[in-house]
Amino acid sequence: MAVLLLGEVTNGVLNRDATAKAVKAVAPLGEVTVLCAGASARDAAAEAASIAGVAKVLVAEDARYGHRLAEPTAALLASLAGEYEHIAAPATTDAKNVMPRVAAMLDVMVIPEVSKVIDAATFERPVYAGNAIQTVRSRDARKVLTIRTASFEAAGPGGSAPVAEATPAADPALSQWLGDEVAASDRPELTSARRVVSGGRALGSKEQFALIEALADKLGAAVGASRAAVDSGYAPNDWQVGQTGKVVAPELYVAVGISGAIQHLAGMKDSKVIVAINKDEEAPIFQIADYGLVGDLFQLVPEMTGKV
């Protein structure tokens, strides 16, 4: 059977890591067609075609797909659904916006954040902030899913899939893009980084959060944050790790001044090696840390930055 996979395209650029992880996840389900939609999407389509395991790429290049609005993209996916048994996407915020809309248009349930594919109808997904893993079997003829990218390896390079045009679907024109606020950064992207250094409420201010950034830069790591740090304005929202933020599984995760609330753990507890720096030796984060260091972060973090 065939799979239609929505590639993650932002401003004409393919998020290769997220897309390749989703390809890896759905490859056992059948022949994979990747759809790249955007105001400019041809380069992204060419890149998607080079992912191993991709059989075909569809490109829908049209201004209406330019700002990742849910309604036109969902209409496009629903119009292409045709012969595909599975319609999937990496579980990014864009896909979480679009895919449930697609599922409802097709009168099927969405299966969000799939962490394991068991067979064509059976999937695992974390629920209750990752405190339970649910196995569900879909009774729908067509399955709409999003893939938890942290649970899968990326499909490699070496593909050479043909690229074909997809006909744009009618645009319901219900919403309009006004602007993006994106902080440009040279750091690795949080969800694909091999190392992540995260700071919590203990940092105390935006200025002092720079200690986290300095350690991250020294390690070539991405920067993450707890919700408390984001809420307090020490870090931007797109750095939040957790149940309602990003899910990461790097080789090294360093949690600094983070207590370890279940909602935070939900986003990082599958990391390979976890380090916790906290002055409270009873902090719950130590229960899942491979290496714990008890003490004052304002002393320990600069020292560590100097020594790695």
Binding site: P100, M105, V108, A132, L178, E181, V230, V273, L293, V308
Partner: protein, 252 residues
């Protein structure tokens, strides 16, 4: 303008969920239940719009077991005007899927004709993040999910959304669905006098069958298990020791 806010009764966010021994789900008997945190934020936002004069009435709806009436009373105590309870299950362990909830909400929207629905972004029990988007599809309305800022002006809602790359601002034509993210506002606590007053506010009860919606699940839960455990490692005594260990582990 009427605003409809769907609110879900879920396990309290401070309670650690425990998987039932028979692997059928999470144990919800004798567990503290509360309003889904995102829905408190949605209710707060609707009340603020009414206080600002942008809305005339705030209606809260909950779908599930009869005990969800408590959740609706909480919303009424916060300041919602009236409540609708749609009884669709009789066992607290029976979760109603987003597609069925969205169909029920569509039926309520058809009756009540709100111009705006503000839902939570995600229920913290099933972590679906789907109902608002599905309702928007069924109604053919525009959607503005993961909102951290909402302004209603005439025929449009201007919404700042929390997305992977940062923030996105869009304008969506009314009627529309907005889903609330955590930073949209800080919900108020209900005062004692308001809790008393809420007891007298109207709470209408219906069933899923009254609304003609079949709630049988599309996703059969085959089993629920604990995640792979992770045990505590070691405490190191100094930064030097930590750096040595990390080098040994090959991660730096």
């Amino acid at each position: 303008m009427k605003i409809l806010v769907p609110v879900k009764r879920v396990i309290d966010y401070n309670v650690k969920a425990r998987v039932r021994a028979d692997g059928s789900g999470v144990d919800l008997s004798n567990v503290k239940m509360s309003m889904n945190p995102f829905d408190e934020i949605a209710v707060e936002e609707a009340i603020r719009l009414k206080e600002r004069g942008a809305a005339s009435e705030v209606i809260v709806v909950s779908v599930g077991v009869r005990q969800a009436a408590e959740t609706l009373r909480t919303a009424l105590a916060m300041g919602a005007d009236r409540a609708i309870l749609v009884v669709a299950a009789d066992d607290v362990h029976q979760d109603i899927e987003p597609l069925a909830v969205a169909k029920i909400l569509k039926a309520v929207v058809d009756q009540e004709q709100p111009r705006l629905v503000i839902a939570g972004k995600q229920a913290i029990d099933n972590d679906m993040n789907a109902t608002g988007q599905m309702l928007a599809a069924l109604l053919g309305w525009g959607q503005a999910t993961f909102a951290s800022k909402l302004e209603v002006e005439g025929e449009v809602a201007r919404v700042t959304r929390e997305v992977d790359g940062g923030l996105q601002t869009i304008e969506v034509r009314l009627p529309a669905i907005v889903t609330a993210d955590l930073r949209l506002n800080e919900p108020r606590y209900a005062s004692l006098p308001n809790i008393m007053k809420a007891k007298k506010k109207p709470l209408e009860e219906k069933t899923a069958a009254d609304l003609g919606v079949d709630v049988s699940p599309r996703l059969e839960v085959v089993g629920v298990r604990e995640p792979e455990g992770r045990s505590a490692g070691i405490k190191v005594g100094s930064v030097d020791e930590l750096v040595t260990k990390l080098k040994e582990a090959g991660v730096i």
